[in-house]
């Protein structure tokens, strides 16, 4: 592929921010793993909500409240169907992936006993490490780490060894935000269930790059963030199997999550509201629904396969550069590439790319243990979405070469 197909150009035109100029140059936005840009219909939905619908939901008898409640709950249904869940009660709105993991760690963690084991992997984001450390400390649980191979793939032989009757929960990322590795979660879930362990899938990096069906996967929990799937920030989703969610104690107390409150006793609301204390991010939920509708309106199969082609092209061009090291070379990879050039600090390259209009991420990507494994302080990460073009990759490579000529 040496030219961006027309259907991609058409998709791209629906994202107004991509026409932005930075320092007088056309913006090249390759930081999609951090957050994705928003299509016009999501932006317009936010405006129309505050222009003509804003009110608090679930308790109002008045018209606006009923309209907003209906839209918010419709969004929940849409998300439920989109990820293949069977019941609305299984879809909990959260602030994002981190919030979802903290909810499960705090609440499901309460059910665990001293000596129980939790498994995570060596490629987890800090948000899928620290919540488990906190609950492990509090409840005297044992936190074990599945190692990885040099190419960034999970060491499945070690996983098999670590898995035992003591394992109560495996919390693992579907796709590594630093390496792009796609983990064999179906196999992990199947094996975990043999030992009676539950599995939480961190879908922050996978929800926007492929079809997710929680029923087919048979995962026990699945978490993701709205802003990484073309929706707003501050909204996310925790999917949990109903029976499991029923068995868990509430996470936070407040309005909306109760059935009846007295000073002697409080009874809790039914799912999903039991886990949604306080006024939620109403427009966040509604606009996330709009983002899902947007995805449904496009040919995702074509878009996702284009992303892969874009990654292949970028990697092929990067490899032509002297002293290039690509970190994360798993066979199954999503559309992001982490790299370093010689001994040059990623911050230096990132700063110069920025001045040429190119947005990439530099640093440890909130995966310090992974940096320790590769014995590096950080990487540059270019992450693509289907609205990125072949021409942008060319601009990026040229800018990278110019940066390197100054730094060497």
């Amino acid at each position: 592929m040496n030219q961006t197909p027309d259907y991609i150009k058409e998709l791209r035109s629906q994202f107004p921010i991509l026409k932005t100029k930075v320092y007088g140059k056309d913006l090249v936005y390759f930081d999609n793993a951090a957050t994705t840009q928003k299509p016009l219909q999501v932006i317009e939905r936010i405006q129309s909500y505050y222009t003509s619908e804003n009110s608090n939901i679930h308790r109002g008898v008045h018209h606006l409240s009923q309209v907003a409640t209906q839209d918010y709950e419709d969004a929940r249904k849409l998300i439920q169907k989109h990820i293949g869940s069977n019941k609305e009660s299984e879809i909990i709105f959260t602030k994002g992936t981190t919030d979802g993991i903290n909810l499960v760690a705090s609440s499901y963690g309460e059910l665990l006993k001293e000596g129980d084991e939790i498994l995570i992997s060596a490629m987890e984001h800090h948000s899928n490490i620290v919540p488990w450390q906190l609950i492990a400390q509090k409840k005297n649980l044992s936190l074990k780490v599945i190692p990885i191979h040099e190419n960034g793939e999970l060491n499945m032989a070690s996983f098999d060894e670590l898995l035992s009757e003591k394992t109560k929960l495996i919390s693992i990322t579907h796709i590594s935000n630093t390496l792009g590795t796609i983990n064999p979660i179906k196999e992990i879930i199947k094996k975990a269930h043999i030992f009676g362990a539950k599995v939480l899938i961190d879908g922050a990096q996978s929800i926007q790059h492929g079809e997710i069906n929680v029923s087919e996967l048979d995962c026990d929990f699945f978490v993701f963030s709205g802003h990484k799937i073309f929706g707003p920030t501050g909204i996310g989703v925790l999917y949990g199997k109903e029976a499991l969610l029923e068995s868990m104690p509430p996470y936070q107390g407040g309005g909306d999550m109760i059935k009846r409150v007295s000073f002697d006793h409080t009874s809790f609301n039914e799912l999903p509201f039991k886990f949604e204390a306080g006024t939620p991010n109403i427009i966040g939920g509604i606009a996330l629904g709009t983002a899902i509708k947007f995805l449904k309106s496009i040919d995702t199969e074509q878009a996702f396969s284009y992303e892969k082609a874009l990654l292949n092209y970028a990697e092929q061009e990067l490899k032509k550069i002297d002293e290039m090291t690509i970190i994360g070379t798993a066979t199954e990879k999503t559309s992001l590439v982490s790299f370093n050039v010689g001994q040059i600090h990623p911050f230096d390259i990132g700063t110069l790319l920025d001045k040429q209009g190119i947005a990439v991420r530099t640093g440890h990507h909130c995966t310090q243990p992974l940096m320790d494994f590769f014995k590096i302080s950080g990487t540059l990460r270019a992450s693509f979405a289907f609205y990125n073009t072949i021409e942008e990759v060319d601009v990026f490579i040229a800018a990278l070469k110019r940066s390197l000529s100054l730094l060497k």
């Binding site: 040059i344 600090h345 911050f347 230096d348 110069l352 040429q356 440890h364 100054l406 730094l407």
Partner: protein, 137 residues
């Protein structure tokens, strides 16, 4: 000898020669390559100012009532900006370092490097330079 203000004005003039950001950074990078380093064997944790993106080491000396600074970084752009800061601060009285305004960074458009969100260690370095100077007042 130039004053604290004059030294800053001189840097601003140097940078005014360039319109293009890449040229400005080329100058910073060249400066970063030039300035005296603290060799790895001489670095210690007391000198380290940890940033999220890059790290800075700072050593200070106080001689004949004046302050002198030696600093280093693992990133060359950070090191270049350190070079600019040292040009301004080196050989100054502790009172000047603590009280006088540091304005050139903003005027040459590099304020992003001294913002708390940048986390490259430079903000912490300026703070520590002032704290070290304060010890001698």
């Amino acid at each position: 000898m130039s004053t604290f203000i004059e030294k800053q004005e001189a840097i601003i003039e140097d940078f005014d020669l360039f319109d293009d950001w890449m040229e400005k950074y080329e100058m910073i990078i060249d400066l970063g390559k030039e300035i005296r380093s603290i060799s790895e064997s001489q670095r210690n944790d007391d000198q380290l100012i940890e940033g999220c993106q890059s790290r800075v080491w700072l050593r200070t000396e106080y001689k004949d009532s004046l302050m002198y600074f030696f600093a280093d970084s693992d990133a060359i752009i950070t090191k270049g900006i350190i070079g600019l800061l040292i040009k301004v601060f080196d050989g100054e009285k502790p009172e000047t370092i603590v009280k006088e305004e540091l304005f050139f960074i903003k005027r040459i458009g590099l304020q992003e490097h001294l913002s708390p969100t940048r986390a490259n260690g430079l903000l912490g370095m300026v703070k520590r330079m002032k704290m070290e100077a304060l010890k001698h007042i």
